[in-house]
Every structure is written in C-alpha cells, then in structure tokens.
Amino acid sequence: MLNGKLLIDAHCHVGEGVHYRLMPDELLRQMDDLGIDRTLLVPADRYIAVDNAEGNDFLLRTVKRWPDRFGGFATVNPWYGERAVAELRRAVGLGLVGVKLHPVIQGFLLCDPLVHPVIEAAIELDVPVYLHTGTPVNALPLQLAELAQRYPEGRFIMGHMGNPDFWLDVPTALSQAPNLWAEISPCLPGMVNRIVEAGFAHRLIFGSDAPLTDLALEVMKVQYWQVSEEQRAAIMAGNLLRILAKGG
C-alpha cells in the first residue's frame, strides 16, 4: 500500500535478459520497500523476441511461488503463427493473465493482420493484450487504436502511452477505441495530468517498465499527479483490476 492506497505495477520485466536482468526475489525486496502490493510480470527482452515458452515458463514458476504478489503476461511472437497461438493457450491455461506483444522487438507492424490470430486467441481466452507503443514507425498509438477498433470485444493496453513523442496522439487514440487503456511508464507527471485533463483518468494504468527504469522513481511520480484522490487510486490499481476481470 502506498499512502493507504493499493498500488499495482502493471508492467515489469523479470528474468535474465540480454540487456538487463531482474530476479523476482530482488524485485520483491524493492516492492516491499516502495509499497507496491502486486506486480504484473512480463518476460525480459530475448524471451519476448524468440524464446517465448522459456520466458513464459519463468513467469509461471514465479507466479506459482508468490501468487499473492505476482501475476504474469505471457509473450508470444506473432511470426510463429499457429505455434504462437498454441503457446498463448498453454501459458494462459497454466495461469498467466494476459499477453504482451512488442512490435519492435518482435518485428511487425502493430496493425499488421499477422497479429490477428494472437488477438483472436486472447479474446477467446478473455485476457487483455498489452502492446508496446511510442516507437516509430511500427508501434504507434493510432495503429493500436486501429487494431482495437477492429476487435471491439478485445481489451487493449497501450504500453508507455506513446512515450516519448506521440503524446498528442493519445487522447485521439483513446477516443477512437473505448476498449483501449494506457500504461504510463515512463511518462512525466505533467503528461499524466494532461491526459487526465483530456478526460481519460479512468483509462490510465500505473506501470514501471523496471528494470529499464528505476522502480523507486516511477513510484515517486504517483504523488505528483494533479488528480483527485479517487482518480489517483484508479490509476494506481482500480483501472487495471477492471481490465483483468474476466468479462471486463
């Protein structure tokens, strides 16, 4: 709990990556220090790119060991086609609660029909889809809004809210697709204020993107958002819990 409010980190990478490393026991220590109740884990870089099942298995082991503190989003590379769909079914069947896709690391245009089988499987499994955004040319908020409009029955999360350069697109994307939420790492507090002022406090989700960021500084920003306490609680946890709920 942070200042009496539930705090859930919607996006944190664990495992031994190529570019970074964060192990669950170390993360738990940091969560305890910082008042983070729960964290949704995603695999580290190379598992997102190629070794999907290996990464998903690491998440599954971690979630099973600390079920009160961790949940996990599986990753599958859409280029694997039917094998990606099968891996997503396996990982969700064993306990992961969403799917994370990264158009840059996995190498596809965010709204390429290549990704449709994975989206359709996520909808069938009733889990949300998190997509990295903000990196031109193939991971942009409006591309995600296009995908989300094509699948109105899906639940989509705009990773990093278009950071750093696509903040102007965010309110438009959120307006186009009511089934789209935005995860705010590593955006400045002023950027969160701006999207709240545009009327989207109920669509924002706290996430850290650690260890690519400093977890303590991501948490520090929570106190600076110029929002009502009700909105703060919603961004810290409430909005995410609604998306994770089956049939949400």
């Binding site: 031109p136 040319v137 750093p164 260890p211």
Partner: protein, 250 residues
C-alpha cells in the same frame, strides 16, 4: 551547483502548450533543488526566431543569475541566422548553446545548409545543441554528421537518444569526441550505460521542463542522475560542473 541544461519556458503557442511564467519555473527549480537552468524557446522553432529570441531574452532577464538563454535560428536563412547568432551572443550576451530542433524546424543535420551555421558557431565559441532521438531528421547519428564535419565544434545531443535510440547516441559519442550527451528523457537503462561508458566530462543533465512544467517533472529526471551508482564527483560533473565549464557559467 545543479544546472538543468534543457528547459523550454517562454511561449508555448504550439502543441497545446502554454507559456510558463518565470516565477513558476523558478519555483519548480527551487522545489527540485536546481540552481540554474539553460532556457530555450519552443515557439522559435516555428515562428519568427528573432522575435522569439527577444522573448527568451526578456524571460531570462527576470532572473539572470539563475536563467541562461540559448537562442535558436532557422538555418534555411543563413544570412539572417548568422546575424541573429551574433546578436544573441555578442550583443545580448546569451551564454547558452544554439538550440536547433531539426524535426520540428524541418531540416536534416546532414544538409549542407548547416555548414555556414556551424562555421559561425565555431567563430562565436557557441556549442550547438540539437534535439535528438526522433526520426526522420533527428537521429543521433544524423546529428553526429555535424560533429564529423566540424571536429572543433561542440555538438550536444539534447536527449542522448531519448527512449529508443540511446544505443545510437552512445555509438555517436564514442566515435566523435566533440559530441556531448545531455541526459534528458533518455531511457533510464540507457542513462546507466552511457554514464558507465562515456567519459564523465562529456555528460550534461536536463529535464525538458517547460514542455510540461508540472510538479515532479524535474524531480523525476534529477533523481535519475542522483540515484546512479557512481561517485559523487561524477554526479557533480553531470549535474553542474560540466555545464559550468562548457558554457562558462560562474
């Protein structure tokens, strides 16, 4: 001394921004513990650059002991641009770098139009800071071509690659010794790597305050340097010592 080398305060007629009063910027700096700030325009990238530099000058003159101006020009008008660089440096005494924003201003650092601007900057002892980290006209290696063409010119990457291109900024800094990296909006993982691999005297710190002067913005980016696992000496260089040396601040 802590010097924020990247702020945009006056103006704000674009992108739904609004003008930040001097009092607000100073209050934000006080709250974050920042002593001095290099201030740049944002309107000047789109509108009359002479008028915007005048506005910038009037802004910093409200607190000249803490605010240092860095002017802008449109390099597509070389005669007017060079005359304005001379006026800002020699008549108005602006100690900041020439701040250019290739993708907002609509030019590429690779274009020959930058040559007379760079020559004038060299003559005036004026570093050039460019926005970087954003395609198609502001990638670190595009900005680095200017450093390659003018090895005596100090070329500052204003964002050290931003979120996605910090590895490119690191490569540029390693290849061209006249490149300085301003850590401002760089992916925190990238900040760690850059600080580990680039000589400490080539690093600056900035917040981009003004492109959103909300409470917490400067604290967040200042914290990214203060919490690095490096010596206090290195932090002091990044946070202020290098800026004092490069821009001749007292």
């Amino acid at each position: 001394m802590i010097v924020d080398c990247h702020t945009h305060a006056p103006g704000g007629r674009s992108f739904g921004l609004s003008s930040v009063p001097v009092s607000d910027l100073l209050a934000a700096m006080d709250s974050a513990g920042i002593d001095k700030a290099m201030v740049y325009t944002s309107d000047g990238f789109f509108f009359d650059f002479v008028a915007c530099n005048n506005e910038l000058y009037a802004f910093v003159q409200q607190c000249p002991e803490r605010l240092i101006a860095g002017p802008t020009v449109d390099p597509r008008y070389p005669e007017a641009a060079i005359a304005e660089m001379r006026r800002c440096r020699l008549e108005l005494g602006m100690k900041g770098p020439l701040k250019l924003h290739p993708w907002l201003q609509g030019f590429s650092p690779i274009e020959p139009l930058m040559d007379p601007i760079a020559e004038a900057a060299l003559e005036l002892g004026m570093p050039i800071m460019m926005h970087d980290g954003t395609p198609p006209y502001s990638t670190p290696l595009q900005v680095a071509t200017l450093a390659a063409r003018f090895p005596s010119l100090t070329v500052i990457l204003g964002h050290s690659g931003l979120r996605d291109l910090w590895q490119e900024a690191l490569a540029a800094a390693k290849r061209y010794p006249n490149i300085i990296l301003c850590l401002c909006g760089t992916l925190p993982l990238g900040i760690e790597r850059i600080v580990a691999e680039v000589e400490p005297h080539r690093l600056l710190f900035g917040t981009d305050a003004g492109f959103g002067a909300a409470p917490g913005n400067q604290e967040y980016r200042l914290g990214q340097i203060q919490r690095l696992a490096v010596s206090e000496e290195v932090k002091a260089l990044i946070l202020g010592g290098n800026a004092q040396r490069i821009f001749g601040l007292s």
